[in-house]
Structures are given as structure tokens and as C-alpha cells.
């Protein structure tokens, strides 16, 4: 049969960010796939070397437009470890609260994108409507819906009043009832299952080989979550389950993510119900002693890694950033082979790509 090469991207309705696939098809079957990255490469790893540790907070928050807070969390944790700073409990709690609100918003955003890409506009609209509630809570706490500027080295920059806590609790109740309904839909809705079950099935072996992380790894049965395995911030004081599944297909990943939203809602409540009192930050010196650190955190898409080396000045000598999308892309390139052309949207959106993150 004749082979046809079909370019998808860098600008394509399927992709929300620039990325280029070249799919080789035989009839309706995709037989080969190649990928090209770098359309939004901004050279962040080089740019950080010319900025002070404080200035870098604002640059690194912009590595990702979805999970901006987890980047500054990982960065601050690393710098705090080099400075041997003790962050006050209230600061850690508020940092973790924002992490979990961000996870809720990211997972709902993803659910909407998947639904739209498989032609299920109703879920797309419901998911994005509900996501607004999480954004409203973050706006009320920090003033920013997407870039929150909550973190600073030594703690957080914002504090919450009792009035704000009550409002957030009320909004979380509202969000909970909406998400319960979404869980119901994901569980029982035949259309969603037909388009996602058995699609892009990843074995544990493949997940390990491509070093994939986060919900897609947990959906294939890899029981790894840094919030439990290497507790940072406030996670050692919270009760939560790590959600896993076995099938490793897009449906399993969907199921893992919607249940993770419920866990995140519970964590937000635990923090707001029992917020420790006291300061939200300790003062951090401008200069950071010589040394190196590897800092890890669990972003909505999985493990984020920051390597930071200080030469004793007020600017980092090297920061290496690894975002969860990079290994996910490695897996997706492999999964795009030998599938139906009609499943391409489900495969690409199933792994929850964040291209700006991957390109840096």
C-alpha cells in the first residue's frame, strides 16, 4: 500500500502548543511517527545564570503556563536546602495548598482537552466550567489565576485571613459536588470508554523504559508518587491515597486523574481546616553558599527535577530543569506507531503534554 506522510503541527487544531509530528500512514493505519520539539525553546537554563535567585523565581514560574507553582516550589526547596533554611509550618501549608489547587485545575483542564479532542464537547464544557472554581480560589488567595507568585525563598509571599479560608472552604464544597458528578460520567459514559479503552496501552515495561512519570505511569501500575515516597513541603502531615490502575490505556489514565482530583480536594480541606498559625516565611540571605542540590516534586504531570549548583554568589551557576512532559513525549513517539489514524487525538492528548514545559 502507498505510504502517505501527514504533518501534524507545529500549528494544528489538535495541539494547544507548537509541536510537530510527521505521521506515516498506510491507509487508515499509522505505521511510523517522527517528532520535532523546540518551537517554544526560550533558553531558560541559560537565562537563569544571569539573574539573581529572587529574580529567577519570576522567570521559573513562567517555564509552564499550567503548573507554574510547582516549578517555583521545586526551585525554592532546592535553594532552601542549600541555605539550610527552616520554612515555617504555615508557609509550607500554604505552599502545599497552592500545589493541590494547581493539580485540580491542571487535571480538569486536561479532562476538557481530551474530551474536546475525542469530540465530546459536553465534558469539555463541564470540566472547564468547574476548573474556574479552582482558579477563583487561587485568585482570591494570591491575586493570580495562573501565575500566582505565591512562593518565595524561605516560605510564601501571601497569607490568608479567616474570611478567605471560609470562602475557599465554601468554594471547595461547590467544586466537590461538581467533580463527584464528573467522576460518575467518566465511570459510566459509554462514549468516553469507547474512545479511550485500550487506546495507547502502555505496559509497565514501556513506562520503565521511557522513564515516564506521574498519572500515566500510575495508570500502568507503577506505584510511585513523590508526595508519599519523598514527602516535601506539608505532605508528611496530610492523609491521602496514591491512585493507581493496571491497564495503562487512556481510560485508566483518565480514571487515575479524576480520582486524584478527589484526593487533592481532600488535601486542600485538611490544610484549610487546620492551618498552623505563625509566620509564612523566614528571611533568606541574597547569597547562597557554594554547593549543589537535586530537588524533586510531584507536579500534576509527575516528577519535576531541578538540579541547582551555587558558586557562592547571588546568581546560580547552573540550573537544570526536567519537566514530566519530556519522558511523556518519548513514550508518545513510540505509541503513535501501529494505531488507527482516528486514535491519534486520543493518544496525543491522553498523556497530557505541556510543550512549553518540555522546551523550556
Amino acid at each position: 500500500m502507498t505510504r502517505v506522510t501527514i504533518p501534524v503541527g507545529p500549528q494544528h487544531p489538535l495541539l494547544k502548543e507548537p509541536l510537530s509530528f510527521r505521521l506515516t500512514a498506510e491507509g487508515e493505519r499509522v505505521v511510523d511517527a517522527a517528532m520535532r520539539l523546540g518551537y517554544v525553546h526560550r533558553g531558560v537554563e541559560r537565562l537563569v545564570q544571569d539573574r539573581s535567585y529572587i529574580q529567577n523565581l519570576y522567570l521559573l514560574e513562567r517555564v509552564c503556563g499550567i503548573c507554574s507553582h510547582v516549578h517555583t516550589t521545586t526551585y525554592c526547596q532546592g535553594v532552601e536546602a542549600l541555605l539550610e533554611l527552616e520554612v515555617p509550618a504555615r508557609g509550607l501549608a500554604l505552599r502545599t495548598l497552592t500545589c493541590e489547587l494547581e493539580r485540580i485545575h491542571s487535571h480538569l483542564l486536561w479532562l476538557g482537552v481530551l474530551a474536546e479532542n475525542i469530540g465530546f464537547s459536553t465534558i469539555f464544557m463541564y470540566a472547564w466550567r468547574d476548573r474556574e472554581i479552582a482558579l477563583d480560589i487561587m485568585e482570591d488567595i494570591s491575586g493570580g489565576r495562573i501565575a500566582h507568585a505565591v512562593n518565595t525563598i524561605g516560605g510564601v509571599r501571601v497569607d490568608v485571613e479567616p474570611e478567605q479560608i471560609r470562602l475557599a472552604q465554601h468554594r471547595l464544597d461547590e467544586l466537590q459536588s461538581q467533580v463527584d458528578e464528573l467522576v460518575n460520567v467518566v465511570k459510566h459514559e459509554g462514549t468516553l470508554r469507547v474512545r479511550t479503552e485500550g487506546v495507547a496501552r502502555a505496559s509497565l515495561e514501556q513506562i520503565r523504559g521511557h522513564c515516564a512519570v506521574g498519572p500515566i505511569a500510575r495508570a500502568a501500575g507503577l506505584d510511585r508518587d513523590l508526595r508519599r515516597d519523598a514527602p516535601y513541603a506539608y505532605y508528611d502531615r496530610l492523609f491521602f491515597n496514591v491512585i493507581t490502575a493496571q491497564d495503562g490505556d487512556v481510560w485508566a489514565a483518565t480514571w487515575v486523574r479524576v480520582l486524584e482530583i478527589l484526593e487533592s480536594l481532600s488535601m486542600c480541606r485538611q490544610i484549610l481546616d487546620d492551618l498552623p498559625s505563625g509566620e509564612v516565611a523566614t528571611r533568606a540571605p541574597r547569597r547562597v553558599p557554594e554547593g549543589e542540590v537535586v530537588s524533586r516534586a510531584e507536579a500534576p504531570r509527575g516528577e519535576v527535577v531541578y538540579y541547582i549548583r551555587s558558586d557562592g554568589s547571588d546568581k546560580p551557576a547552573r540550573i537544570k530543569i526536567r519537566t514530566p512532559t519530556l519522558p511523556a513525549l518519548s513514550l508518545v513517539q513510540h505509541q503513535l506507531k501501529d494505531i488507527n489514524m482516528a486514535d491519534v487525538p486520543a493518544v496525543i492528548s491522553g498523556v497530557d503534554l505541556c510543550i512549553a514545559c518540555a522546551d523550556r
Binding site: H41, G78, R208, A212, Y232, G291, S295, V305, L326
Partner: protein
């Protein structure tokens, strides 16, 4: 940290077996990372030991940096704690074997380290640029300005 100390000892023991003519030593790095120097010629064997004997399958990433005297690759692994293998390379002959055979996930990390620091990963199946444009002709961006001749030059 007691558990991690024992883990480091066991690791060193196993590494000495596969690469007997090298004096392996372990140090720690915050936030809970064991760091072991590995010569480039023993890298494949060392990674095989990690994977087969210690079930360390997850390569988080590879950090590439220019330390002046040498170029440095840090292979950050994770298994119930961080394990970093450090490979120092001479700047005029920076070569290291690829890990893509055993770990397909190393592909992107090696391509990025290759284009950003000018390291050659021997045996890599497709060492094209990952993030930089295909027609990028300047020096690798993360090389020290002095060595690369500087942007002004």
C-alpha cells in the same frame, strides 16, 4: 540516612566488581541524593548494575555542565531516593557511551546534553538536535564563554 549509607556501601561493592581498576567513592548531596563518580568507560556496566541488582530503573534526567577543567554529566536516577552517577569528561574529547539501548528514555536527555554542551554520545541512534534549530551553527550554548570563544568573538 543510615539506610541510605548502607545502600551506598552495597552499591560501591557491586560497582567495584564490574570495574575493578577504579576507586569508587560515594558522597551525598541534598536533598537525599547519593553521588558516585563513574569513569565514562564503565558507565554502561554501572547502569546495568543499578538496573539489574538494585532495581533502579528510573533515569530522571541528565544534567550537563561546564566546570572549566572538565565537562560534567550527572545521571540522576531515582529509586526510593536519588542516586546520581557523575561522569567527568575532558573538554577536548568529550565522549561517553549512549544508554539508549537499555533505556530508550535516555534518548531525549542525551540529545539535549549533546547539543547544549557538545558531548558525543557514542552509538546514539539519532543524535539530531532536540531543542535547537537544525541549522544551529554557533557553539553549544552551555559551554563557558571563554572556551567557546564567546558570543562577541
Amino acid at each position: 540516612m543510615g539506610g541510605r549509607g548502607m545502600e551506598a556501601e552495597a552499591l560501591l561493592e557491586a560497582l567495584r566488581e564490574v570495574c575493578p581498576d577504579y576507586a569508587f567513592e560515594a558522597r551525598t548531596m541534598p536533598v537525599n541524593e547519593i553521588v558516585i563518580d563513574v569513569p565514562a568507560r564503565c558507565l554502561e556496566e554501572a547502569v546495568a548494575v543499578l538496573r539489574e541488582t538494585f532495581s533502579v530503573h528510573h533515569l530522571s534526567t541528565i544534567t550537563a555542565q561546564d566546570l572549566g577543567k572538565e565537562l560534567e554529566l550527572l545521571y540522576h536516577f531515582w529509586h526510593e531516593g536519588g542516586i546520581t552517577l557523575r561522569v567527568g569528561l575532558p573538554p577536548n574529547d568529550a565522549r561517553v557511551p549512549t544508554l539508549t539501548g537499555a533505556l530508550p528514555g535516555a534518548d531525549f536527555y542525551e540529545r539535549e546534553a549533546g547539543e547544549m554542551l557538545g558531548v558525543t554520545f557514542e552509538g546514539h541512534p539519532g543524535p539530531e538536535h532536540l531543542l535547537l534549530p537544525e541549522d544551529w551553527e554557533s557553539e553549544p550554548p552551555l559551554l563557558d564563554g571563554d572556551r567557546a570563544g564567546g558570543d562577541e568573538a
